[in-house]
Symmetry: C2
Subunit: 423 residues, 2 copies
């Protein structure tokens, strides 16, 4: 980056002086603002308070008493609703508890303990297991890998998805590469939507490992910030089309549709995978919380019900995204010291600062009372090789706090950049 | 057993003839009665319909918005309630999702993937893992072992708990024995309550394996059928007392207190174990369904609230137990062809028939329209070595159906016994 458009050292020192003054002023305010996680704000949660209104009977439309045991796959009517949403068949999908992350973890744990199907070697019996990690990505995916001792291989994220040339080259040669993490729509944190070409190549590519799995975390499937949302190709269809029908595990959740802590996790895959995994889950539990599934189904009724509901979310959070972008534009654009995304959906704005400055920015912000996501968190092992990436999560803070917080962040970026180039 | 008090062959043939006639009459009724599982009946579930009444705010007493993310250990006020119930400290207990079986499974999966603490070898790295299985016992415990390839060792259940001499002898010598399944109160299916001596010996015994764990499924902790319930010694205290503080994993659930499919699972252990397991769970999920925890806590308020509620359960199911015992007494006692338990709590009546007859009885019952728990299900690998044990689950059927079903079962017992001794 040609920072400050090639200003002289004297000019830069003046900018530094000004940034320092602003920063110290903010510090003196003793703020305590938290933007660390992609959490919905209370107004968003209020949108779903009606979930518990229709509780006169807890019997589903098939006559099943949802209060009692049973139904490992989830309620038929809930499966139908989400099968419609995902455009898969009912038998290609199950509904779990309140956490799709937990379903991802469980699928990984199952692969380690039992293998991905009847014939495959459990991964715990292998010398080495590796996963491809498009980065920047979601820290909780990487944390699961780290816990299981999986070696993570960094794959650069591009504007259309992860670097497919690199991926194809690696998976063709290395049998110990067993999977890849993908957030294919409004990717966490970059906001990228995978193009059809990327989806097709992931579905079609030759993998040395027969038990390779794509962990497809479609967390933001309906979390649009525009009226004309981009389309994502259906990867289950693509995998079938390219004769790798069992390659993908798809995850969706209502955590950012209804209640972040009390929604539904959804898992879709080929019928073969679903049947195998249900056979394992049936040893693990007598069934998920069907009442919550029933109430969700009654609340939304149809896919249109979900889409209408998501428009109300957008109406609350879009102004927050706009505010962040506006402040960054105003404070940073002409200085050429940062680049940021303008996402069409999802929960994050991706911010890249000068190499070697991200950690310092996050630290400075913290010392001025603004907690950001830890620098490096968006990379495997928490290490951003270039130390440039910062994840901005605008949804939770009230708009006034957000305004203050982002103004502080922009000052921290100025200060960190100037301190670095003038040191 | 001195069946039919030493009747002559001719007398026996007359009994057989009569049993056959009764059996054929029942068969002609084309019944369809299910007593296979220990499920609560609708009237029991109705007792908790008030759970969803108090939903005006979903903020807990500490100001936490239960709708949002977070709180891996569970809500503090819910932990407090169940810590009081279990007589452990709040930090020795966490609250999970709707299934305590799932917590057991997870702890086993974690032991396989990560070891029971930072220093222990993950069980997946060992040649062989064995578990002690007091039998008859709970089929779902055994199914989890089977799934993980754990070798199950049958331990005879006695009137005071499992055969401790045998257990002590085995665990002292064999490092591959890593655990034992226990249902210590109103044991499934025998109804046995472990005596203080058994609890003490389990807590104190010398184990060759340093990472030996007692899986203490206290499923029926408050599920009394009498006004003066027997006391069970606190095993967490006993383990501390005998200097094996980290030996026990305790499980409790509200599945048979509130809603079988939508209750709360509870896990208690030493603070060291809890801290370690919470560190693993925090990679697995962002937190359990806190709303359900909040509603449960508001519904019961105190331990007394739970105990009062359980009296209402007893009022519904005690007459069902009494009816089964009465019919068996009337139809079988003088014939000396079966023995059964008279449990002071829990969900089952344990029935032992003549050796080699249990499978036949269950089959005959099925053919007359009464589904019982599969014969052998109460033993590891589904194999009852003597083929004598049948689990009677009286809670689910309406009293009229139950009466019919048990009358049929008694005829099936007569028929199977006579067919066997006269063949």
């Amino acid at each position: 980056m040609n920072v400050y458009q090639g200003a002289t050292e004297e000019e830069l020192r003046r900018f530094q002086q000004k940034a320092n003054e602003k920063y110290e002023k903010y510090q003196a305010e003793n703020l305590n603002l938290n933007m660390a996680r992609g959490k919905p704000c209370p107004e968003q949660l209020d949108l779903s308070n009606g979930l518990y209104n229709d509780i006169k009977t807890l019997i589903d439309e098939n006559g099943t008493d949802c209060r009692n045991y049973g139904g490992v796959e989830g309620l038929p009517e809930t499966r139908k609703l989400f099968a419609d949403l995902l455009n898969v068949k009912v038998e290609e999908l199950i509904i779990g508890g309140n956490s799709s992350l937990n379903i991802m973890y469980d699928n990984l744990a199952r692969a380690f303990n039992h293998g991905v199907d009847e014939k495959s070697t459990p991964w715990s019996k292998l010398e080495k297991v590796k996963f491809l990690c498009p980065s920047p990505g979601y820290d909780r995916h990487f944390a699961i890998c780290e816990l299981f001792g999986i070696e993570m291989i960094n794959i650069p994220m591009q504007n259309n998805g992860p670097d497919m040339d690199r991926i194809e080259e690696l998976v063709k040669e290395d049998e110990s590469i067993k999977g890849i993490w993908c957030v294919p729509k409004y990717s966490n944190p970059t906001g990228v939507v995978y193009t059809d070409e990327v989806v097709n190549r992931l579905a079609a590519m030759e993998t040395k490992a027969n038990d390779f799995r794509i962990f497809w975390d479609n967390a933001y499937i309906v979390h649009h910030l525009t009226d004309n949302p981009p389309r994502l190709k259906n990867i289950l269809h693509a995998c079938r089309e390219y004769k790798n029908p069992d390659r993908v595990y798809i995850y969706v959740s209502t955590s950012k549709i209804t209640f972040a802590g009390a929604g539904l996790g959804v898992f879709a895959s080929s019928k073969k995978n679903i049947d195998y995994i249900v056979s394992l889950i049936s040893k693990q539990t007598i069934g998920p919380n069907k009442i919550n599934q029933l109430l969700h189904t009654r609340f939304f009724k149809t896919v249109d019900g979900i889409l209408e509901h998501m428009k109300k979310h957008a109406a609350i959070i879009k102004p927050k995204f706009d505010l962040v972008l506006e402040i960054m534009e105003k404070e940073l654009a002409d200085k050429n010291i940062a680049r940021w995304s303008n996402p069409k959906g999802g929960y994050f704005i991706n911010l890249d600062v000068m190499e070697g400055c991200a950690g310092r920015v996050v630290q400075l912000a913290k010392e001025a009372g603004v907690t950001l996501t830890k620098a490096g968190a968006t990379y495997p092992y928490g290490k951003d090789p270039a130390d440039t990436n910062i994840r901005i999560a605008p949804t939770l803070p009230p708009i006034k706090e957000l305004e203050k917080a982002i103004n502080i962040v922009t000052v921290c970026i100025e200060k960190a950049t100037l301190d670095k180039i003038l040191k």
